[in-house]
């Protein structure tokens, strides 16, 4: 059914149709609308026998989900930003225990300085916590990914995080197709846990494991992630058969076939990016394309290397930033491009017997070009931190700069470099105070006396 609906309400409806049994949450902007909606549904009895637990922290939210899932309940929670970091320890625990919890992250910046607006620093900081990470480009995809997430999670006994840009998606109202209860029921069977706390058959979950087996437990988790690279496209295919809608998956290519410049991005920026690409193609015939990265963990190395093929220039557009290093997604892209075609699946993945898909020779990168000539040139563009809007105008400027061969290896979109310089100068003189406040004063956003 097509509805005009807010992203958060859409996610709540998707989760509701997945028949969750325990929902636990601690409020944090911009996740609140999702859990408020689910709480109302539980209160009204619409999700019976589902329990809604109002917890005292995000650590408790994830812990309640862990206990509930281990006791056989389909468990869901949602968070963002500081909240995701506050549950960091429990995130690793949930994946280490192999508990198929599904969680929404309404992507938001991490403080200090405190900032409630969108970027992806939160989920990117948790990229190696063992959870599958899906990134929605729009609200239709966010909605669909939640239904798919429960299937992926429960099939592989792995927790799945669906990341959607805070406010940009969570609070945006769009016409969306909401799958019917019958469609979801046909797609998602009842949760059949692989491990269960039950007095009838007592098991110990969470034993202490020393050097003799710890590596094997970790590699097992990795093997499951590698299986997810096959499971996700298959599950997404089944979802499409039932709903008639292609949505989600590992990645998509947008006008890449003839592109010598490819922009890799994830999340809501893709809409603006694709419009800008269309515009530049039309106006100046620029051969630009985009790779929409939808699954970030596991990282689809083979698919990405194929999608990029032998493009000359790859721009990785990132909404997060590794201070002291640079681009987070870029490092993953670089690793994928460094693979020779015959090992593009990675040594671990090549062993998986059900992975018989051969790399597309037409799109496979030429190893000589990759390794000998340093191609493709890889650029990191950090954009949209702390909610700074990524506009078409900014992207147009960025892409023109790239096409002219003027783009730096690490570039900050719409950066006010002079403000940083001024504060660095003050710090050199030893007269700097709190950085954020000084910068706000320089920008004349705060009227206050001298530092």
């Amino acid at each position: 059914m097509r509805e005009q609906i807010e992203g958060s309400q859409a996610v709540a409806q998707a989760v509701a149709r997945c028949r969750p049994e325990v929902i636990c949450a601690y409020p944090i902007t911009p996740q609140t609308h999702i859990v408020e909606a689910l709480s109302r549904m539980v209160r009204a009895g619409a999700l019976a026998p589902c329990e809604f637990v109002n917890v005292e922290s995000e650590l408790a939210a994830m812990s309640v989900a862990i206990g509930a899932c281990a006791a056989g309940a389909r468990a869901y929670t949602a968070t963002a930003s500081q909240g995701l970091l506050y549950m960091a320890e429990a995130l690793f625990n949930a994946s280490g225990l192999g508990l198929p919890i599904v969680m929404t992250v309404g992507n938001r910046a991490i403080g200090a300085p405190i900032n409630i607006w969108n970027d992806q620093s939160d989920s990117m900081a948790m990229r190696d916590c063992g959870w599958v990470q899906l990134y929605a480009a729009d609200n239709q995809e966010a909605l669909d990914m939640h239904v798919q997430a429960f299937r992926v999670a429960e099939e592989l006994s792995l927790p799945v995080m669906v990341c959607m840009d805070g406010f940009v998606l969570t609070h945006a109202v769009e016409p969306l197709e909401v799958p019917s209860q019958e469609q979801v029921d046909a797609f998602l069977p009842a949760f059949a846990p692989l491990q269960l706390l039950d007095p009838a058959d007592p098991v110990t979950i969470g034993a202490m494991v020393g050097p003799e087996a710890f590596t094997e437990v970790r590699v097992l988790a990795h093997a499951k992630h590698m299986q997810a690279l096959d499971a996700i496209p298959r599950i997404v295919g089944e979802y499409e058969q039932i709903t008639g809608r292609p949505s989600g998956g590992l990645l998509d290519r947008y006008r890449c076939d003839d592109a010598d410049t490819i922009v890799v991005a994830l999340g809501s920026v893709l809409g603006t990016l694709e419009e800008t690409i269309d515009e530049l193609r039309e106006q100046q015939g620029a051969a630009i394309g985009a790779v929409r990265l939808k699954t970030f963990r596991p990282f689809p190395r083979q698919e990405l290397a194929q999608a990029i093929g032998d493009a000359e220039r790859v721009i990785v557009l990132e909404r997060a930033f590794a201070v002291g290093a640079g681009g987070i997604v870029t490092d993953n892209v670089r690793a994928a491009l460094a693979l020779a075609p015959d090992q593009a699946g990675g040594p671990d993945r090549a062993r998986a017997p059900d992975r018989a898909r051969a790399p597309d020779p037409a799109r496979a990168p030429d190893p000589a070009r990759v390794q000998d000539q340093g191609r493709p040139r890889l650029h990191t563009v950090i954009a949209g931190l702390g909610g700074r809007a990524i506009t078409r105008r900014s992207l147009r400027g960025l892409l023109r700069r790239a096409l002219a061969g003027d783009l730096e290896e690490l570039y900050f979109l719409d950066l006010r470099a002079e403000v940083v310089e001024r504060e660095l100068e003050r710090a050199r003189k030893g007269v700097s105070g709190p950085h954020a406040e000084s910068i706000l004063r320089d920008l004349r956003m705060v009227m206050a006396g001298p530092v």
């Binding site: 005292e56 650590l59 309640v64 006791a71 225990l97 706390l197 007095p199």
Partner: protein
């Protein structure tokens, strides 16, 4: 290698107060071994000799199993109990058991309880959360308080050995005044653990006005079992705080664990009581009050109180604390047991134990 002396099975636990040292009536006896016993935590675990926590956990969980017909799920905090019971690939647990993290056992237990409600199994299967004092009164406090105030149907048991024993005897908020730990050394005139610090988790639990709060020691196992069984007769959050001597951390003789636990109670340093809905309901009285020195001397964590002229000032401070407990809780047989709201008493200006 000589064989260890054959261990005689002791089937009976005699009471100290109730019947004046005579054997208890059959139905009041604690059976230490027997075919019907659940042995929820069974032999083979790696606890130290004389471990009070292993003993306490066995009695608590077996009693809970008895009270529920074996329908118990346990959620355990990180700590000694977790480490010594589950060295992979072995497990001492014969009930369904989960360990997640150090500070989240009450929330994991809440999650299990929520799942049981959703599955319609809450009337048959019950949940016990458990951890040491560090996992409970320090890092787990927020999750514990949340579980209490929401009214989740969980019995949470704190095995209190008064410091972080698993990491090598560091101070916790349950470490008593003047006790030496690895982070409260009695150096440079310092008393060991500072006086006037720490918190009482049972009183904090009572402030939540939950249905049932009780304290117990491993010296009186029948009392401990009775409290567990009573706790399981209530629905909603319940809290049991069990004093469990740690020979390693306390510097005590492993063979003296029971005696030292009894001395903690008989000196008045560890009040044993029950509270219903936030109000003190029953107190386990002291038969013959002993000076605190009798409790302190057998423990090397207090050795600095008695070496080289000693610290009579600190011994006196601890004695004063014990005396205050006797007053506040009505611990002496001749004293009138103080019914009523202990927190109200606290508000009148007295500090907690």
């Amino acid at each position: 290698m000589s064989r260890p002396p054959e261990q005689r099975e002791r089937f009976y636990q005699t009471g100290t107060l109730a019947v004046g040292g005579r054997l208890l009536a059959e139905e009041q006896r604690t059976v230490q071994a027997g075919e019907s016993r659940a042995n929820a935590i069974t032999k083979g675990h790696r606890a130290c000799q004389g471990c009070g926590e292993a003993l306490g956990a066995r009695y608590v969980l077996d009693a809970a199993m008895r009270a529920t017909g074996g329908q118990v799920i346990a959620a355990n905090a990180t700590g000694c109990l977790e480490v010594f019971s589950t060295p992979y690939p072995e497990s001492s647990w014969r009930l369904p058991w989960i360990h997640s993290l150090f500070g989240n056992a009450p929330a994991v237990a809440s999650g299990v309880a929520a799942a049981l409600r959703a599955k319609g199994r809450a009337s048959e299967v019950r949940v016990v959360g458990q951890g040491g004092d560090g996992g409970t009164v320090d890092i787990g406090m927020a999750c514990l308080s949340g579980m209490f105030e929401r009214g989740d149907d969980v019995l949470y048991v704190c095995y209190d050995n008064q410091a972080y024993m698993n990491t090598g005897v560091q101070r916790s908020a349950a470490t008593p005044p003047a006790a030496r730990t690895a982070t409260t050394e009695p150096l440079g005139g310092h008393p060991g653990n500072e006086l006037g610090q720490g918190k009482s988790a049972p009183l904090i639990a009572m402030a939540h006005e939950i249905p049932y709060v009780a304290t117990a020691t491993v010296a009186e196992l029948r009392d401990l079992e009775a409290k567990v069984i009573r706790a399981m007769s209530f629905r909603g959050p319940r809290y049991l705080h069990v004093l469990v001597p740690c020979p390693l951390g306390w510097g005590s003789d492993p063979a003296q664990t029971i005696r030292i636990a009894r001395l903690a109670k008989e000196t008045g340093l560890f009040p044993v009581f029950e509270a219903l809905h936030g109000r003190l309901a029953a107190v386990s009285q002291i038969r013959r009050k002993l000076p605190v020195e009798e409790y302190l001397r057998p423990q090397r964590r207090y050795a600095h109180l008695f070496a080289d002229g000693g610290r009579p000032d600190l011994v006196a401070a601890l004695q004063a604390q014990a005396d205050r407990n006797v007053q506040r809780f009505g611990l002496l047989a001749e004293a009138e047991p103080r019914e009523g709201d202990l927190l109200h008493v606290l508000a009148d200006g007295e500090r907690g134990p």
